[in-house]
Amino acid sequence: MAYRPEPAPFEEELAGLDALEVKTPRARSRARRIWSSLWPKFAAVGIVLLVWQILVWAHWRPKYVFPGPGAAFRSLWDDVANGRILRATGVTMERAAIGYGIALLIGSAIGIAVARVAVLRAAIGSLITGLQTMPSVAWFPLAIVVFRLSETAILFVVVLGAAPAIANGLISGIDHVPPLLLRAGRVLGARGMKAYRHVILPAAFPSFLGGMKQGWAFAWRSLMAGELLVVIGGRAGLGFTLDSARLRQDYPGLMATMIVILVIGIMIDSLLFGVLERRVRRRWGLIEATS
């Protein structure tokens, strides 16, 4: 079975040429890499906190209405310590996961269907883009009328917010698969469903990931709007915590909740999608291995 090619005069030249032409990634320690990507972020956060504090020092608004970072973080610490913020975060993240999960399934199914079936594309292709431009908050009055003040109403709007972006990402990914790769796949025997599995979907993945990332941003916004508008007893999410802090005139608490909302949004965007995106781009050779 093992095949041993007979040594030929050209083989040494070939090996020499190969060695010259292969890219060798520059070694840089992991710690250095992480640090060089982190310090600008820390610096940015520091500047924001500083500007915030300066506004407070300058008495831009009365201190009880617009508390400084110190008061906000003390309040955040208390809320973390007494478990309130964690419970609210748990409720919100559960809704986010369910809503985004459903959006992912529906968005992918619609994306594939529209990319595959010409009639569907003609019928709803532009509608999907249209849906994406519709502010998802505008769905809430209808959702509340139809589903009452329920989890379903919130999920409905979250899904409507996220699914079109996900579908669009997949559709444009499938549309932009290089024809050469399709032909190469066909020569190898990947036709029909196999072409989708082995060629089209993997090739469409970077664009799909972009759609997923955008979909997450929409889902998170819709969810916050939903939690402000749709209040369900015993199910206090971050949106409700935010609004009730305002009603209780607990302004440090309001600031603390906003920080949590912002941080969760950023973490998912950069830690989950950002890392995935970089991995894909590196694997495809779209960025240098060292950057």
């Binding site: 079975m1 093992a2 050209f10 292969v22 032909r183 020569v187 082995h198 993997p202 495809w284 050779g285």
Partner: protein
């Protein structure tokens, strides 16, 4: 699954004897579009490729070289005439390596085996020996973008070999490579062809390359693509692209090619 190469000199060619040629084109035409705007890409081409033959098609732009290959590969339908292919579905190598950028070198080759429903247990070993055949042992876990153009094209060749097709169609496969890499790949392809006993149809616009590689060179005329002339190449192998014999025949074919092109200019 056996990957054992058949040595051309030692195996019995009568395996295929009597069953005709590897590829038979009979009065094949291809017309794109219709009416006044119809373009005759290929017109009435009849051609046989023998089993184990290395055939090169040369011609200027618009001679329908790629169209012919696509029709043999089954990627394109004929307008008229028939294409007969024996010995399984042919495999096609493009000018670009067309590797899948999301897969490693190994997995690119592996996919061809997977699509042929080869057992996972056997695949690893076969992939290893295929990469060895194209001298890329040790590069299996690289991503395609980490390799040079010539190495990528060799991965594409390994992937094509994984299909165990007996007919290899090559569409200007080395057109985008530098001269030194190209010369080395000529040696590589010639050796693989001698070891495996494939039939190869190789399309190129480089006449010297055709003479360096082929048993027979077919010259195509342009618009419509027709067979203009046929040149058997009796130069003993191994050949060098810079050898005087190769140069002499290439000069002769080039002169004929120029005539074809000139003639075309007079017509229009």
């Amino acid at each position: 699954m056996s990957l054992r190469p058949r040595a051309r000199e030692t195996t019995e060619p009568d395996l295929h004897m009597g069953s005709g040629s590897a590829v038979s084109l009979t009065s094949v035409s291809k017309v794109y579009g219709a009416g006044a705007e119809a373009v005759h890409a290929v017109d009435n081409v009849s051609l046989d490729v023998e089993f184990g033959e290395f055939l090169c098609l040369v011609g200027a732009s618009g001679c329908g070289k790629s169209t012919l290959l696509n029709m043999i590969a089954g990627l394109d339908k004929t307008t008229n005439g028939t294409v007969e292919v024996r010995g399984g579905r042919p495999t096609l190598i493009f000018q670009e390596p067309a590797l899948f950028p999301w897969l490693t070198v190994e997995r690119n080759v592996d996919l061809a085996l997977k699509l042929r429903k080869i057992d996972r247990a056997d695949r690893k070993q076969v992939v290893g020996s295929l990469l060895e055949m194209v001298h890329l042992t040790g590069f299996g876990s690289k991503q395609p973008h980490e390799l040079s153009g010539g190495m990528r094209q060799r991965v594409a060749i390994a992937r094509a070999l994984a299909q165990q097709a007996e007919i290899l169609l090559m569409d200007e496969p080395f057109g985008a490579l530098d001269a030194m890499t190209r010369d080395l790949l000529h040696d590589e392809v010639e050796r693989l062809w001698q070891d495996t006993g494939f039939s190869i149809v190789f399309v190129t616009h480089n006449v010297r390359e055709a003479v360096r590689l082929a048993d027979r060179v077919i010259l195509l005329s342009s618009r419509p693509g027709r067979i203009a002339a046929e040149f058997p190449v009796d130069i003993p192998r191994p050949r060098r692209i810079e050898s005087p014999e190769v140069g002499a025949l290439a000069t002769e074919i080039t002169a004929r090619l120029r005539e074809e092109v000139k003639h075309h200019g007079v017509q229009t």
